[in-house]
């Protein structure tokens, strides 16, 4: 446990493995130094520190049943994430968390689940997908929709292939800009939704992607008459503290770090700056 109760004091973690997924994304596996069990809910995030550079909020991407190590998919977009990409196995960094609440998995039990992942949105969803696969009998139909800009940006392609092989999961992958070797579907992820055969009252749609994606996906889900309470989205915002103080992630009256980062559409539709 932490030596004192400072909100801002990270624990020390060590990099135990890394894997370059694409030019922009690297998968980093961490182990917290004091070897305590690390428990979290799918959808929670960490504040990762590279000391001297700063801190950045990153979603946990690994299975919550793995309590030994934590996997994160880091896109290189700023100073901290660039520094994270340079960390080698054995390097130490700071970790605060888990922060946020995570997806409402209890409410989703016995329901059909449609995952809608755009680009890096697969990172937090991968944690939930692994949870659902581990507890497969607790859920009804599982559909995974994944959209990437081009074939080279598809994340966790090997895992998508494994999921596709399973009889009890439907996986649909599309790319916005196919290349000559791409044999799969093309077009934005929104186009996959009209073809789905959904039973609205028993379906949860879990949507994570870039901000621009939400309003288009929401429209398609509403056409399918998915109840607003059953559409769950995870929001990306600027965050400095992660504990409800610094003000950066505020959307109207709510703090994304404290109250989210997952919200139902029913909650978000009343927040003018959310989507």
């Amino acid at each position: 446990m932490k030596e004192n109760n400072s909100l801002f004091l990270p624990e020390i973690a060590e990099v135990v493995s890394t894997r370059q997924l694409t030019e922009m994304e690297r998968y980093i596996e961490l182990k917290i130094k004091d070897t305590r069990e690390f428990n979290f809910n799918p959808g929670q995030f960490l504040q990762l520190s590279v000391f001297g550079i700063g801190e950045a909020p990153i979603s946990i991407s690994s299975s919550p049943f793995n309590r030994e190590t934590i996997g994160l998919c880091v896109r290189r977009v700023g100073d901290v994430t660039s520094a994270l990409h340079k960390l080698e196995v054995g390097a130490c960094l700071g970790v605060r968390g888990p922060l946020g609440n995570g997806f409402p998995v209890e409410k989703m039990k016995n329901k059909d689940i449609v995952f809608v992942a755009g680009g890096l949105g697969i990172a937090p969803l991968r944690s939930l997908i692994q949870y659902v696969i581990e507890r497969r009998d607790d859920f009804a139909r599982i559909t995974i929709l994944y959209g990437a800009k081009n074939p080279g940006e598809i994340l966790f392609a090997d895992e998508l292939e494994c999921w596709k092989q399973r009889k009890d999961i439907e996986v649909l992958v599309t790319v916005d800009k196919p290349d000559e070797n791409w044999a799969g579907k093309s077009g934005v992820i929104t186009r996959l939704i009209p073809h789905l055969d959904l039973e609205p009252s028993r379906t949860y749609a879990v949507v994570v992607g870039p901000p621009v994606m939400y309003k288009y996906v929401l429209l398609e889900l509403q056409i399918k008459q998915i109840p607003e309470d059953n559409i769950i989205m995870s929001l990306e915002r600027r965050m400095k503290c992660g504990v409800g103080k610094c003000g950066h992630c505020q959307i109207n009256g709510i703090y994304v770090c404290l109250d989210g980062p997952e919200f139902s559409y029913h909650t978000l539709k009343f927040l003018s700056e959310a989507i």
């Binding site: 030596e3 004192n4 109760n5 400072s6 909100l7 801002f8 004091l9 990270p10 020390i12 520190s49 000391f51 001297g52 550079i53 700063g54 801190e55 896109r75 977009v77 700023g78 994430t81 130490c92 960094l93 700071g94 870039p210 901000p211 621009v212 990306e236 915002r237 600027r238 400095k240 503290c241 504990v243 409800g244 103080k245 610094c246 003000g247 950066h248 505020q250 959307i251 109207n252 009256g253 404290l258 003018s272 700056e273």
Partner: protein, 350 residues
Amino acid sequence: MKDVLIKGKDLSAFCHNLQDSFIVYGVREKEEGHFIFDEIDEFSDSLEKYKPTILPPKKYLFPQQETLLRFDTEPHLEIKSVVESKKQVLFGVRPCDIHGIGLLDKIFTSDNEDSNYLRKRADTLIIGMDCMEPCYEHAHCASVGCLDIDDGYDIMMTDIGGVFFTTVKTPQGEEIVKKYVEYTIAGEEESERFLKLRSDRKGRFDNKIETEVSNLPLFFKNADNDPVWKELDERCLGCGRCNIVCPTCYCFDVYDCMDLTMTSGERCREWDACTLKDFAAVSTGENFRSTRGLRLRHRFNRKFNYLMTKYNTSFCVGCGRCTRSCPVNIDVIETVNAVINNHNNNHERE
């Protein structure tokens, strides 16, 4: 402790004696008409009627820059949290600023306790000085319910004519009165004079907001598309001054500073401002409040709607610093009244 009387001429000695045990911060005239809170060793009577200081005294509880952590990266990574605090007295704080500190207390104790703030707060005594006249044209404390104050200070002094009627609120307040200043117990006559003065002042503080302050969240909830935000979008410079001078703004940035060896350093927080362009921008390029109008709308909503709804009290304390410091004269009261009037006019049209 019963209410006591402290003679005006003894205040300077009070201030001086407190320095035995505390750092004493009080008001100093930095330039003519411009006041600041600063370390003082005596109290100057000419400052009894000071206008709100450039920065509120929150800077002694939540400093402009503050170290949160110290770290060494070699020979192996070590991190320590840093909480810097020392015993301090804030001397001569106005009711508006005491209300401001009370609101920060709520913020830094709710949801997650912020030990950096709370340690400083626990080490701080507040000696209030009540207001009998509006201090300047931008003050609207009475309009937001922040003129009268019955809590949030250790002692409160009210000038009842050469002598200060002093209410002692806390055991710490009692201790410093007994230890550091000459006083007499207030008699019935002084108590009555105090109550009469407090009651008479009401007529001198106008209510400048054209509705009950408790109604404001309702008006602001319906004001997202109010034309006032478009108009302010064109005027606002996005400079952040209104945030920086506000007694209840508490948003901050966090950054690391390495020392010259590049092996150790500090993590610090620093005041930030929600009216600045990049406040809500993410590294992938999106900016969730991309215009000055949207950012000002956010700031006004924080004062009169979002935080007000959560804590059931106005987060504007009526000091008027934002209006005074705005380079393009955006006036908090005019803006609030525009929201109220535009709403009512719309209703009449419909």
